[in-house]
Symmetry: C2
Subunit: 91 residues, 2 copies
């Protein structure tokens, strides 16, 4: 494995792994208002297509990286789009 | 070009293009508090390495998609990390 192949593997690890702190951040804040809905939808669709492309290439790194990224994105989408429970006033 | 190659090109277009609405969203809100700093740093580093990997593969789509994504990320980082002007009180 040469330096560039290592760069590629590290790239995949970083771009996928970066979503772990993002998901923790989103779960902690219970808010994703600063994250664009259109970004979530387009990026999610793109990641799903990268997964399909990886299946065709039979590339385990592309398949795996995009499967994990997609699952992490779903957590962000859940926080962003799930209806929030109404704040109940103390009578 | 077969259906899977088209899926790959569409994937690259979507994952890169998704950052256009995100940047507009961030510029409009002037806030990126819901975006994790660690996500920005790790994802940015990953995108830079994808760019290097693309140079090695001599793959124009990988080079171009990641160069554009990196520039768009820099706008988000600028909003997130630049010091905000203090709100001046009316005397």
């Amino acid at each position: 494995m040469n330096a560039f192949e290592i760069a590629g593997l590290l790239a995949a690890t970083l771009t996928t792994g970066s979503f772990v702190p993002q998901v923790l951040h989103t779960l902690q804040r219970r808010s994703a208002d600063d994250i664009s809905s259109l970004w979530l939808v387009l990026f999610g669709a793109g990641i799903a297509l990268w997964f399909v492309y990886g299946l065709w290439l039979n590339s385990l790194p592309i398949i795996l990286a995009n499967a994990v990224t997609f699952l992490l994105l779903m957590v962000i989408a859940w926080i962003k789009f799930a209806p929030r429970p109404a704040v109940r006033e103390i009578a």
